[in-house]
Every structure is written in structure tokens, then in C-alpha cells.
């Protein structure tokens, strides 16, 4: 039995003030806030730092940007990985022949 979506029925009392969090608009606002913080952070660093984007004497550049790009690439590559090496959920139990058709696994 499931309750109607976006309904406060069945909600925990502590969660009721936060019921709006599940709306698409709330997600978009959160995303925009995070984006502003990210861009602002790098901008602030560029302005304040003497040697450009550097935090440590030995490490130059906004090195945090590269892992972010890498994370984005990894997420996109995940599609290829799913296509390449994903199999049906019962792949092991059925393919090995240790579960017969109709048997609950």
C-alpha cells in the first residue's frame, strides 16, 4: 500500500516542514546554489591568490577542476560499461544451472 505522491499523509512529523524538498523546483534551486558556490569559489581563489590558482607552493592550478571533469566522464562512461558488462539480474543463478526454472532464487 503506497500513499499518494507529494502527500503529507503518512509523513513523519519531523519531516513535514521539509516536504517541499522533493519538488523539482527545490532540486533545481539546490543545483543553482551549488553551481554558484563552485564558480564563486574558484573566482575568489583566482582573485585572492598571488600566484593565480595555487593553494600549495608545489601544486599549481585549479587541480580540483580536473577530478570533476573526470567524475563527469566516468559517469558518462558508465553507460558504455552498463552496455558492455551488465547482464540480467539472475545471470549467475540461472546461467550456472544451479537454479531451475520457476525456483525462487
Amino acid at each position: 500500500m503506497t500513499a499518494p505522491r507529494d502527500s503529507k499523509a503518512g509523513m513523519h512529523p519531523l519531516a513535514r516542514p521539509l516536504s517541499g524538498l522533493s519538488s523539482p523546483r527545490a532540486g533545481l534551486i539546490a543545483l543553482i546554489v551549488i553551481a554558484v558556490l563552485v564558480v564563486g569559489g574558484f573566482a575568489l581563489e583566482t582573485v585572492l591568490s598571488d600566484g593565480g590558482l595555487s593553494k600549495y607552493p608545489e601544486v599549481y592550478g585549479a587541480y580540483e577542476l580536473l577530478p570533476l571533469a573526470a567524475a563527469a566522464v566516468a559517469i558518462l562512461l558508465g553507460w558504455g560499461l552498463v552496455w558492455l558488462i551488465s547482464r540480467p539480474g539472475d545471470f549467475y543463478s540461472r546461467a550456472a544451472g544451479d537454479v531451475t526454472e520457476g525456483q525462487d532464487d
Binding site: 543545483l31 577530478p67 570533476l68 558508465g78
Partner: protein, 574 residues
């Protein structure tokens, strides 16, 4: 009180846990079992505090071999402490459960892990090493499904194999050096390599890691919490003890830290996602051990300490979700914050620790490792760890919190987790925050003294940027529906090698063997029939030898044969 505690001086804390576990196993009354589950860790903690002086206790002289069952030093002390703490937290968390098998097993498992870190020789280590395997398997078997039974057997087989390799390597090592002592080993000999592989099997080295994402998601809710805490961290301890400063570990650790990224992204089972994040976390520790030095070993120890607690917290959260909803599949969950807000809060605290957010334990632990790599001029390792941190740790934590508690509301309106579960989660969450804010408490128990301040502007700023940036990437991927998540799919991993390829090879080999056997049988049968037929043709009443030959012909052939014999005799040398 002090006197009461001081009589425990020199008594290994492991025995309290193991004894409590055995009693719990034997006890049919759940109230008594729960009391034992609380008292065992409390007694162990008292023994830990009582034995203040480092040294070797509990020595058993068996003639040719001297066993050291309780070696207390800086390294064993910190691992034992976190093992005892987590066994207590788990006891609180599991108060709602009424399972005799898992109650006893969890305590014996914790006790054997503590016993292993206190082992001063390899025979004692082997004993407790195997005991961890035997005591932990029931945590998977207890689920009772055929799938869990098979996973438990696979888990047990790999753990026992690790123990057998450990014993074999130890015997080789003892024959070479004349000592069973468990100290620095190195990879300069075959014995050392075998020992490292034995430990690596438990530590989740690449291609030896498959049992972690295979077994952890199939254990009971409480079982996965316990499993996440002991086995792999025990192996990390063994690496720190025997192989500190081995360069090969840096490469191995980096692979462990990076490759789980794709599995963290694509796995639909959130406990499996955490299992892969755990491998990443282990990779950080393996790198730190490879870097070596005081900072590296302290970094590994700090990560083990903080990691045991925050990963346990994350598994506790998912255990509560599993208890209430019956699933931990990302595609079947969402919007749970509406009915489980307190659990959501603990999930957020755990996730912030996993991600290494400032003011949480993950930050003060992870910074040590990054600093160790930087300090020892392993710049590539440093860079790749930063990548791994963004790609695996942060995405895994965000994924668990988002898909379970926020995300698309599936209309699941369930009861909050039991209060005892909340209490266990609260203890773990408190430690995550306490150790992050009051970091000298964590650094104070580390093996080596150091003067290190994690909260430097540069590191806090850099880590915050990394964290926010990963959140942005994750959020954008969700917003544009680019996150590759599919329901009811199995993502192949190295376990395919034995679960499918090995299984198919064995079946193919058996079928080929049968075919060969049949073919040989056919050829032999045909040959025997042929010979039988020929003999029949020769000797049967109608056969060739039964015919009558003319006597003149017989005399001629006899003369020819006689002439041949005479010629041979004439030309033969005397």
C-alpha cells in the same frame, strides 16, 4: 574501581569478546544474549585500558614454538580500540534482532579480529585469522536464501584459502628465518610474496577483491555492518605490520582506489555500492602503507579508525532501510526522508564523513594520507588519490543518500527505524563528528607521535571545492538523466572468472572428459570386436587354422624355414 580494572592488566581483550560470543551462542534467552553483547565489549574495553604499558603478554611456551597471544604496541592498540568500539556500537544497533546465530557470531568475529591484531607470532595470527573466517560466515548464512547460502560458501572458501596461504607462507618464512615472529616481512622472498597475497586476499587487492561486493550485500542488515568493520581492516593492519614502505603497495592501492568508480556509478544495489566504496577506501590505506614512514602509517591507521566507524554508519543506515522497506535497490527507493527523517540525518552525517567534508572524521583521516603522499614526493599518487576521492568516495555517498532518501518519491511510507537502531547510529554519528572536530583525540591514539594540523586554509578550501564540485557534477547528471542506473541488472566483475568462466570451464571439462571417455570406450570396443572376430576367423571350426593343408605344401614351407635358420646360423659371428 581502579583496582578492579588493574587486575585485567595483561589480559587480552579478545578473550572477553570470544567468551561472551560463545556464551551468547549457547544462550537460548535473547535478553541474556543482548546483555552479553553489551558486556563483552565493555569488558574488552576495560582490559584495553587496564593494560597501559606496551609489551608482550600472554606468552605460551610450547617448546620449539613460543606463542605471543597479546602483543600490545602502538599499531595493535589503535586497531584493537576501534574494533572493540564498533562491536559495542553494533551490539546496541542489533538490540532489536533475535537471532542466536548472528548474536554469537558477531562477538566471536570481533574477538578473533582483536586477537589477530594482538598476535605477536604467525601461528597465533593464523588461528585468529581463520577464526574470523569461520565466525563471520554465519552472518551471511543467516539470511537463509539459496543466493545467500551460495554467497556465504564462496566467501568462506576465499577466507579459508587466505588462511591456508598465510600458514604456508608463514611456514616458509619460519624455515628461512628460523622465527615465527610477525614483524616486518617485505617482498624479498617467495614466503613474503605468498604472505602478501594471503593478506591481499582479505584486503581486497585488485582481482582478489570480488568477495567484498559479492558477500556484503547478501548478509543480514546487522551482518553487513559487522562484515564491513573487521576482515578488511584486519588485513590492512597486517599489511602495515609486515609490508610498510613496499613500493608495490602504492600501485596496488591506486588501482584499488580508482577502479571501483565505474561500479559505484552503475551498481543498483546500494549495499554493493558501499562495498565498492569500501574497496576505494582500502586503496587509500594501502597507498599510505606503501608510502610508509610515520605519516603514512599514521594515515593508514587514522583512515582505518575513522573508516570503520563511518562505513559502519552507512551500512547501519541501509540496514534500517532494508528492515523497513525490504529492499536497498536504488531504483526501488526514494523519498524516504519523509518517513525516516532521523535515519536520513544519520545518513547525511555518514555521507559527509565518507566524502571527507571538513569537520567530519573522514577529512582529518584522509588529509593525513594525501599529506603523506605529497610529503614523500609521490605526486602522481597524490593526484590520482584526489581523483579517486572525487570519483568514488563522494559519488558513492551522494548516491546512497540521494537515491534512498531523496530522489524520486516512490510513495514508500514506512515506520522509522527502531530506537535501538537509532541509538547505534547516533553513537557512530557522534564519533564521526567528534573525531572530525576534536581531531587530537584521533591523532592521540595513532601509532606515532606527530604534530599535524589538518585544518589549514588551503586544505579546507581545496576539499570544499572538490566536494561542492562533485555535488554539482552528480546533480547535473541526475538533472539531465545521465546517471547510468538500471534495475534488475548484474554488473560483471572479477567474480565472473570463477562464477561463470570457471564454472563453465569446469562443466565444459567434465563434458569433454565424458566425451573422451565415451570415444575411448568406442575405439577400444571396436578394436576388441575386431580382434575377437579375427581370432574367431582363425580358430573357429570354420576358421583358417582349422582347414586341412596338403602335406606336400607343408613339407615345402618347413624346408624353407629350416634353410632360413641354417643361413642365419652360418653368417652369425661366433
Amino acid at each position: 574501581m581502579t583496582d578492579a580494572v588493574s587486575i585485567l592488566n595483561g589480559v587480552s581483550p579478545a578473550w572477553f569478546l570470544i567468551a561472551a560470543g560463545l556464551l551468547a551462542w549457547a544462550s537460548p534467552r535473547s535478553e541474556l544474549r543482548k546483555a552479553l553483547m553489551m558486556l563483552g565489549p565493555i569488558g574488552a574495553l576495560a582490559a584495553w585500558f587496564a593494560t597501559g604499558e606496551t609489551g608482550v603478554y600472554g606468552v605460551l611456551d610450547l617448546g620449539p614454538v613460543v606463542l605471543e597471544t597479546f602483543r600490545l604496541d602502538g599499531l595493535s592498540r589503535v586497531w584493537a580500540l576501534v574494533f572493540i568500539l564498533i562491536s559495542f556500537i553494533n551490539a546496541v544497533y542489533a538490540l532489536h534482532e533475535r537471532n542466536r546465530m548472528t548474536d554469537g557470531a558477531a562477538l566471536i568475529y570481533a574477538g578473533s579480529a582483536v586477537g589477530a591484531v594482538f598476535a605477536g607470532d604467525m601461528l597465533t595470527l593464523f588461528f585468529f585469522w581463520e577464526l574470523t573466517a569461520l565466525a563471520s560466515a554465519p552472518l551471511i548464512f543467516a539470511v537463509g536464501t539459496p543466493e545467500a547460502q551460495r554467497a556465504g560458501l564462496r566467501y568462506l572458501a576465499i577466507q579459508v584459502l587466505s588462511g591456508v596461504m598465510l600458514l604456508g607462507g608463514a611456514a616458509m618464512w619460519a624455515s628461512q628465518t628460523g622465527s615465527w615472529a610477525f614483524d616486518a616481512i617485505g617482498t624479498g622472498s617467495w614466503a613474503g610474496i605468498i604472505l602478501m597475497l594471503a593478506i591481499g586476499l582479505k584486503a581486497g587487492f585488485p582481482l582478489l577483491h570480488m568477495w567484498i561486493p559479492d558477500a556484503y550485500p547478501k548478509a543480514t542488515g546487522v551482518g553487513s555492518v559487522v562484515l564491513s568493520a573487521f576482515t578488511t581492516k584486519l588485513a590492512i593492519y597486517a599489511l602495515a605490520r609486515g609490508f610498510a614502505g613496499e613500493d608495490a603497495l602504492i600501485v596496488i592501492g591506486l588501482v584499488m582506489a580508482i577502479f571501483p568508480v565505474f561500479y559505484v556509478i552503475t551498481s543498483n544495489d546500494l549495499r554493493q555500492t558501499l562495498a565498492y566504496a569500501l574497496i576505494n577506501q582500502l586503496g587509500f590505506m594501502v597507498v599510505a602503507i606503501g608510502v610508509g614512514g610515520h605519516l603514512g602509517i599514521n594515515g593508514a591507521a587514522a583512515n582505518a579508525f575513522a573508516g570503520v566507524i563511518y562505513m559502519a554508519l552507512m551500512f547501519m543506515v541501509l540496514g534500517a532501510v532494508l528492515l523497513r522497506t525490504g529492499t536497498v535497490k536504488a531504483t526501488e527507493l526514494g523519498g524516504l526522508y519523509k518517513s525516516m527523517p532521523i535515519t536520513t540525518l544519520f545518513a547525511i552525517i555518514g555521507a559527509l564523513s565518507v566524502m571527507g567534508a571538513p569537520l567530519f572524521s573522514g577529512f582529518v583521516a584522509k588529509t593525513l594520507i594525501l599529506s603523506a603522499a605529497h610529503h614523500e614526493h609521490h605526486d602522481l599518487a597524490y593526484t590520482l588519490l584526489v581523483y579517486a576521492s572525487a570519483g568514488v568516495m563522494e559519488i558513492s555517498a551522494l548516491k546512497v543518500v540521494w537515491f534512498a532518501f531523496f530522489g524520486k518519491d516512490r510513495g514508500l511510507r514506512v515506520k522509522e527505524a527502531p530506537q535501538t537502531m537509532h541509538l547505534g547510529m547516533a553513537l557512530a554519528a557522534f564519533l564521526c563528528v567528534f573525531l572530525g572536530v576534536n581531531y587530537p583525540a584521533l591523532y592521540g591514539v595513532l601509532p606515532f607521535d606527530m604534530d599535524y594540523k589538518p585544518y589549514k586554509l588551503a586544505s579546507v578550501y581545496g576539499q570544499s571545492q572538490l566536494l561542492l564540485g562533485t555535488m554539482l557534477v552528480f546533480g547535473l547528471a541526475l538533472y539531465f538523466k545521465l546517471f547510468p542506473l538500471k534495475s534488475d541488472r548484474t554488473i560483471l566483475d572479477a567474480d565472473w572468472l570463477y562464477r561463470r568462466f570457471g564454472d563453465a570451464s569446469a562443466r565444459w571439462g567434465a563434458a569433454m572428459g565424458q566425451l573422451l571417455f565415451d570415444a575411448i570406450g568406442k575405439v577400444l570396443g571396436a578394436f576388441i570386436s575386431f580382434v575377437r572376430l579375427r581370432l574367431f576367423n582363425l580358430f573357429s571350426p570354420a576358421g583358417a587354422l582349422s582347414k586341412e593343408f596338403p602335406s606336400g605344401m607343408m613339407a615345402l614351407w618347413t624346408a624353407i624355414m629350416l634353410a632360413g635358420v641354417v643361413l642365419v646360423a652360418y653368417f652369425s659371428p661366433v
